[in-house]
């Protein structure tokens, strides 16, 4: 029973707790570029739904050299899969970086790939909510202090 309780708690709570930390960390690291992080995090779930996980990961990979925000998002995904108690991705602990994760995804079986897609979507659901809640809109800010940070 106690185990059962624990697993129920850890599914959504685990995702939520970790997503919150990810967003807090992104805000600290990115400073005035944090708006980018927010808009990318909002965009990615729809990219996964319309283009599939593999292509979306490839897209993040292609962007992360030039964009710190995408680099952080890639790290967020990998770190979550490493911490995920369900072990959707069996050998997650052995993967060193996001490039490694993309390579692993290209070798997955259909059923594993689908399960991973669902897990990443579930994680982004939290990430997106917290990013929206913790990072204020550029528009609001511009109205506030007249600074344009573009």
């Amino acid at each position: 029973m106690s185990n059962e309780k624990k697993s129920l708690k850890t599914l959504e709570h685990g995702r939520a707790h970790f997503a919150f930390e990810c967003v807090e960390n992104a805000i600290n690291v990115l400073g005035n570029k944090k708006g980018e992080y927010k808009s990318y995090v909002k965009k990615i779930p729809m990219l996964i739904k319309t283009n599939g996980l593999g292509l979306t990961f490839a897209f993040i990979l292609s962007k992360k050299a030039k964009s710190k925000a995408y680099e952080i998002i890639g790290e967020n995904i990998l770190n979550w899969l490493k911490r995920d108690e369900k072990r959707i991705l069996k050998d997650a602990s052995k993967i060193e970086n996001f490039d490694g994760l993309v390579k692993t995804v290209t070798m997955l079986e259909s059923s594993e790939y689908m399960a991973l897609s669902n897990e990443v979507l579930a994680f982004f659901n939290w990430l997106r909510r917290f990013a929206e809640g913790l990072i204020e809109d550029e528009e609001d800010k511009n109205r506030g202090d007249g600074n344009n940070e573009e």
Binding site: M46, S111, R128
Partner: protein, 316 residues
């Protein structure tokens, strides 16, 4: 209470959005889904409302005068307000039967799963339509197995069917082919014959979650001609070609005795069948072939074809 039931098939012609309101998922305006399976559904209240509306249109065009009774719609569908009497016709939620998914060969395939077919069978049993020649597609000897297709040439590339970005190793099955042909004739949808794939339940569940149509909508500011700041939202739709079904059930007409006798005399004339049969016939005779269900009617969404299952012994 309800004495007779008939399955009605619903084929989605233009993307259909039977919305569940707000949601905290990745889509702002998601479609209705069953709680325990997460398969798409359409609430019976949506269906009943749309059908009632189409009957009211008929009444406006004076096409229901032949029944010789005032307000026959209230008799059958229940009164618009108050609780004078109940409706003598009922509908169940529409359930999914076939879901179209992009296929590398054949443009798209119709997917279904053993669990979906099992439920379909149960619902047919409820409505007593499984009798006679149809039964053998569901008997114990002929199993509609997962990972089988109705036509290998039209769907497969070397033993595999490739749906979206997933490849499945499938085999051809005579039973699946027979079932697809039967369903195709029943619904009048030619393509089912060549496009049916039975997938494992889990995979089917993933497809009906991940492969629905999602449309992003914006609002243009008429003064500037550009997008308004945060007026961007996403809507989920059941794709065209989806096939669903629901049961239509009929009971005797509910009315206080003194009123009822007079009305029945007028309605039934000297017909020899029961009241519930009259209700069912009234429904079938006047049901439009094309109906609009769900949201966004003004942008052409939700147009669907309805087809009542004809059973033997029906008044043709």
């Amino acid at each position: 209470m309800y004495k007779i039931a008939k399955p009605v098939f619903l084929k989605v012609v233009t993307p259909l959005h039977a919305g569940s309101g707000q949601d905290l998922g990745i889509v702002d305006l998601p479609i209705q889904r069953e709680r325990h399976t997460n398969f798409p559904k359409i609430e019976s209240s949506s269906i009943k409302g749309c059908i009632r509306e189409s009957f009211e249109d008929l009444e406006k065009e004076n096409k229901l005068e032949k029944y010789g009774v005032d307000d026959i719609i209230s008799l059958v569908f229940g009164p618009e307000s108050g609780d004078v009497h109940a409706s003598s016709i009922a509908f169940t939620d529409a359930r999914i039967l076939l879901f179209p998914v992009k296929s590398v060969k054949g443009v798209y395939a119709y997917i279904t799963s053993p669990k979906v077919l099992e439920r379909f069978k149960k619902d047919l049993e409820i409505s007593k339509t499984l009798d006679g020649i149809k039964k053998h597609f569901f008997d114990k000897k002929r199993k509609l197995k997962k990972l089988t297709v109705s036509n290998r040439e039209k769907l497969c590339i070397s033993e595999k069917v490739i749906l979206e970005e997933y490849a499945f190793e499938v085999e051809f099955s005579e039973d699946t082919k027979g079932f697809a042909e039967w369903l195709s004739a029943l619904l009048g949808i030619e393509e089912i014959k060549d496009k049916l794939v039975i997938l494992p339940d889990d995979v089917f569940g993933d497809f009906v979650n991940l492969s629905t149509e999602v449309i992003t909508r914006i609002k243009i500011n008429p003064e500037t001609g550009t997008v308004e700041g945060s007026a961007l939202f996403t809507e989920e739709y059941l794709p065209s070609e989806t096939v669903m079904y629901f049961l239509c059930m009929a009971s005797p007409i509910f009315l206080k005795k003194d009123k009822k006798e007079k009305i029945l005399k007028e309605l039934m004339k000297n017909e020899k069948f029961s009241e519930e049969k009259f209700v069912m016939n009234f429904f079938e005779e006047n049901l439009p072939k094309i109906i609009q269900i769900g949201g966004n009617a003004t942008i052409g969404k939700g147009i669907s074809e309805l087809k009542v299952w004809k059973t033997e012994g029906d008044k043709q």
